[in-house]
Symmetry: C2
DNA sequence: TGATTTAAGTTCTATATCGTACTAATTGAT
DNA sequence: ATCAATTAGTACGATATAGAACTTAAATCA
C-alpha cells in the first residue's frame, strides 16, 4: 500500500515501513511491466531462486523460502509449469513429494527479464551511487533478518 | 515476493529491491496480525491518509495518492464504509463525485491499530538505533521520489 | 445551445493470494 | 508390525486486486 507524501509527524519506524511499502509497489510494477503478459514477479522470483540457490527443490521448500503458504506456491508453480518454465520430477526420497527443476526455457525467461530490466537499473545506478545502494542493502538486510528471526515476525505462523 | 537468502552475486540494485520486497511482506503481515479480522493494511492506510493529509478527499484523489486503480479504491472504501469507519458526502463541486470523511469510529480504529503496533515498534527501536532508521528513511525517501518521478516508473500509468 | 469528449464512480469479470479441509505417504510409538 | 500422528501436496472457497466497459455529469467546442 503506497501513498506519495508521508507526513513528517509519523513516527520514524512507521515511516520506514511506509516508504518500503511504496517502493515495493513501484518496483513490482516496474518489473512486471517488463515481463510477458500474464507473468508476475512471483514467477520471476521462483525461477530466480531455482537458479541462484539450487533447483530440484520441493514445493514446500520453495514456499518456506518465500514465506508464503504452500497453496500459493502450488498455484505459482502451476503457472510456471503451464508455460513449461519448470518441470516436475518425483522426489526419490519421499513419494508424497516432488522436485521442481528449471527448464532451458525457464533459464531463458529469467535472463530475458533481467536483460529487460538492465536499462532501468542502469538509470537508477546513474542516479544513486553504488555506495549508497550498498549501504541501504546492508541496513535493510539487517532489518530483514531481525524481522525474520524476532518474536514479532512469528505472529503469523505458516504451516 | 520474498526469499530469505539473497545471493551475494545478484546485482546490487536487484538485491535492494529484493530486500525491500521481503521486508514489505513481513511488515504487512506484522501489522495485519494486529488488526481485527477482515481489516487489511489497505484499510488502515486509507484511514491514516485521511487523518495525516486531510479528509473530505474524493475516491479518485485517494486512488491517485496510493497509486492504485480507482476500482480497487472503490472496493477498499466499501469495506471501510461497511464498518462505518468512513462516511460519504456529496461533492458540492461535482455531482458525479463524492467526498470521503473519517468517522469517530475510524479515528478510534486507527489509534487502536497504532497502539497495538507500539510494542513491536518499541522492540524494533531497541534493536535498531533511531539514527540508522532515520538514515534509512532518508535514503529510501530519495529512492521513492526518484522512482515516482522518473520516466521508468511511468511505465504503467493509472487513470 | 446542442453535440461531442472527457472524467468520476460503479459493475462485471478474471485471477492472485491464502485459509480450510482433504488425500496419500511417512514417521513414530508401542 | 500395527496403528496413530504427522507431513507433502492439492482442491475448494473466500476475498483483494485490477482491467474493461458502463452510467452519469462535466467540460469543450461548434
Amino acid at each position: 500500500m503506497a501513498e506519495t507524501s508521508p507526513d513528517d509527524a509519523l513516527p520514524l519506524y512507521f515511516r520506514l515501513f511506509n516508504e518500503i511499502g511504496i517502493i515495493e509497489q513501484l518496483s513490482r510494477a516496474l518489473l512486471e511491466a517488463q515481463l510477458p503478459a500474464g507473468m508476475l514477479v512471483s514467477h520471476f522470483s521462483v525461477l530466480n531462486h531455482l537458479i541462484r540457490v539450487k533447483d530440484g527443490r520441493t514445493p514446500l521448500e520453495l514456499a518456506r523460502a518465500f514465506q508464503m503458504p504452500k497453496t500459493t506456491m502450488t498455484h505459482t508453480l502451476g503457472g510456471l509449469h503451464k508455460h513449461q518454465l519448470v518441470e516436475t520430477r518425483p522426489n526419490p526420497e519421499d513419494k508424497r513429494s516432488k522436485c521442481i527443476w528449471i527448464t532451458d526455457a525457464g533459464r531463458a525467461f529469467r535472463e530475458d527479464a533481467i536483460a529487460a530490466m538492465a536499462p532501468d537499473m542502469g538509470e537508477l545506478a546513474a542516479h544513486m551511487e553504488a555506495g549508497i545502494a550498498q549501504d541501504l542493502v546492508s541496513k535493510l538486510t539487517d532489518l530483514r533478518i531481525y524481522l525474520d528471526e524476532s518474536r514479532i515476525a512469528k505472529t503469523r505462523l505458516r504451516e
